[in-house]
Symmetry: C2
Subunit: 201 residues, 2 copies
């Protein structure tokens, strides 16, 4: 019997996934959490074998939770289950120690198999996604450019970004200009969206 932990911030989705997986005779859901920072504790207390982690959660992201799990509970395997198949996410998930990566577009019947493969020590990655991840390659953005772009995501004016990053407006504009060039965009808004869609932020 494989013991599962579910982490997803949407209670309805969490409960529904639990119902789906509990239908399988060899799987049982032993814990459910709605925040990333509750994953490790719940996994320890429940004695889970495999953790299904959504990426976008309050507290900690699923990627960060996977990293914590690897260091705190090395015997527990993580399977990322997320809405967004951003190329950069796959690489970061595997770097963070996740054993699998599944998008919520995949057919429901395949999820249980993915869980079993992960539990068996195999890596599970959507082949289409894996290809995209290789095509897109790693982020060409420097650390600072990434940070500035993230602050520019909501369309804030340069002055606001500069204050938030403790930089001069000129420097911010230089970093943005560089990021715009690297993403092939023509405005910072477009650059930010491109970078996000590639999972670089």
């Amino acid at each position: 019997m494989i013991r599962l932990l579910l982490a997803d911030d949407q209670a309805l989705v969490r409960g529904a996934l639990a119902a789906l997986l509990d239908l399988e005779s060899d799987l049982t859901v032993v814990a459910q959490v709605g925040r990333g920072d509750e994953v490790v504790e719940a996994a320890r207390e429940s004695g889970a074998d495999v953790c299904l982690l959504d990426i976008e959660m309050p507290g900690l992201t699923g990627l960060e939770a996977a990293e914590l799990l690897r260091s705190e509970l090395p015997g527990v395997r993580s399977l990322i289950v997320t809405t967004f198949g951003r190329p950069g996410y796959v690489r970061r998930a595997l770097d963070a120690g996740a054993a699998g990566f599944v998008v919520k577009d995949t057919p429901a019947r395949e999820l249980a198999d993915a869980v079993r493969r992960v539990h068996a020590g195999l890596r599970v990655v959507d082949p289409t996604l894996a290809a995209e991840s290789l095509m897109a390659g790693p982020s060409p953005l420097t650390a600072r450019e990434t940070e500035i772009l993230r602050l520019a995501l909501d369309g804030s004016p340069v002055a606001t970004i500069a204050r938030a990053a403790h930089l001069s407006q000129g420097t911010v504009r230089n970093h943005l200009s560089s990021a715009i060039g690297k993403t092939g965009a023509s405005t910072r808004g477009e650059a930010a969206r491109i970078a996000q869609s590639r999972g670089w932020l």
Copy 2:
């Protein structure tokens, strides 16, 4: 036995919801679709009593699908099940003939009850959401402002928006300026995000 149709673009969520609802002895899922424009046909063929509709779907939105259902199959009731509890969505959902509105944050065990209430002819709306919907009020934006703002959502420059809307750049800037004023924003990007968060787009 209440016959259900599920419409959600994420196959995994769709399948999981089906598993959850099929656990109830008085409910049965008779159809599943991943696109808004397949809802009416599937509902007709399957003889569904209640349709659970996600809002964000390819083809047609859940709100548009609900409107079509009301005119084509008046006996079928719609229950909107969505991620976003945007105030404007609730009003538009009820205007579109939906019998209920539930966000994906609600506990899983409440969903079946919501379905039963809707089937019984009652209206089901999250009370917190209903209050927010009344507070926010209707959209203050004119038709054109709404359209222009929607085009500005992705941060396109004025020139691009003007071409897309077949308008002069000056007119676009005027509409945007007006929308910025009405939303209390200071850039078109911020205005667009505010309007979207209120469900005005």
